[in-house]
């Protein structure tokens, strides 16, 4: 499989860092140091940026575009774990674990641009810029808190409720630049692909949505909002 070729290598300007929350809040000195290390890479759609199991050589910050995170399960089947978009960091955990191997593959779904930070520079930043370490801790604290909320949703809300919420949010956000697959929706709402497919068919039978080839049309806003606000499993 191909690893994304570097279409353009550029040293950066400090102003290029504003759309990355983890970096933009750092003190100027730290950002200046980072901007000397970061290299911009353009990734074509459907190219892999990181391969699961390879030595972890870098982490990345998404400047633009959408990626999906994939992992091979015990049966050898590739599973979608999540999607990532502008501002999100990629592969930081792989640089922090002692084995330093990529824990998952990451593939661009759209043409994308990332800022690459190689492992040596990552280590030197951790050692020299305590604010960078604090920003990482904060990032992971937010991730854990998000996962706790998701776990609460999983135990309190049915798949129907979670899917109805997802569909409403997606249809209400005109800026979504990349369409979702049923695997990706399943990863996002904490279920499996078959259940997403079955629930979409149930919604269709009930007249809440209709399907026209690739398009799912939401027909009944109040019915979907009702589904989205139901709590009992």
């Amino acid at each position: 499989m191909l690893i994304a070729p570097c279409l353009k290598d550029d040293r950066l300007n400090i102003s290029d860092l504003t759309q990355i929350p983890l970096i933009s809040a750092l003190p100027l000195e730290c950002r200046q140091q980072l901007s000397r290390f970061l290299i911009q890479r353009r990734i074509p759609a459907y190219q892999s940026l990181v391969l699961e199991g390879d030595p972890a050589e870098a982490c990345f910050f998404i400047q633009s575009g959408t990626f999906r995170v994939l992992r091979t399960n015990q049966d050898g089947k590739v599973q979608v774990l999540s999607r990532l978009s502008t501002g999100a960091p990629i592969n930081i955990i792989s640089l922090l674990i002692p084995e330093r191997v990529n824990r998952a593959s990451v593939e661009a779904l759209t043409p994308a641009s990332v800022l690459a930070l190689n492992s040596k520079d990552f280590d030197s930043l951790l050692a020299s810029c305590p604010e960078f370490s604090t920003a990482l801790l904060r990032h992971f604290a937010m991730r854990i808190s998000h996962m706790t909320d998701l776990a609460a949703d999983l135990s309190l809300l049915s798949v129907r409720t979670r899917l109805a919420r997802f569909l409403i949010d997606l249809a209400d956000s005109p800026n979504s630049i990349c369409d979702w697959t049923q695997d990706e929706i399943a990863a996002q709402i904490g279920t499996v692909r078959d259940v997403v497919g079955r629930t979409l068919r149930d919604f269709e039978t009930q007249g809440l949505i209709s399907r026209d080839h690739q398009q799912f049309v939401l027909l009944d806003r109040s019915g979907l909002v009702r589904e989205a606000s139901l709590n009992p499993k």
């Binding site: 459907y46 569909l167 369409d179 697959t181 209709s210 080839h213 398009q215 799912f216 049309v217």
Partner: protein
């Protein structure tokens, strides 16, 4: 005439196992040396089953979601 959307096949990920070809209920796909290709694209109903059969994540069948006009 606008062309119907088809699932996207990423040949870099495909290991040519043929699961999508044999699993497609509409016989829309055939296997070539390069990987599966659409031999009968008009047959494809966009059921997305091939995406589910694919063990390597090489097929993506993204869906579009929008409100009906009156909403």
């Amino acid at each position: 005439m606008t062309q119907k959307a088809l699932p996207i096949i990423n040949f870099d990920r495909c290991d040519r196992c043929g699961a999508c070809v044999t699993g497609c209920p509409e016989q829309a796909l055939t296997m070539t040396k390069a990987g599966p290709v659409f031999i009968q694209p008009v047959n494809c109903t966009y059921c997305t089953a091939c995406e589910g059969f694919c063990p390597t994540g090489a097929i993506r069948a993204p869906i579009k979601v929008r409100w009906a006009l009156e909403n």
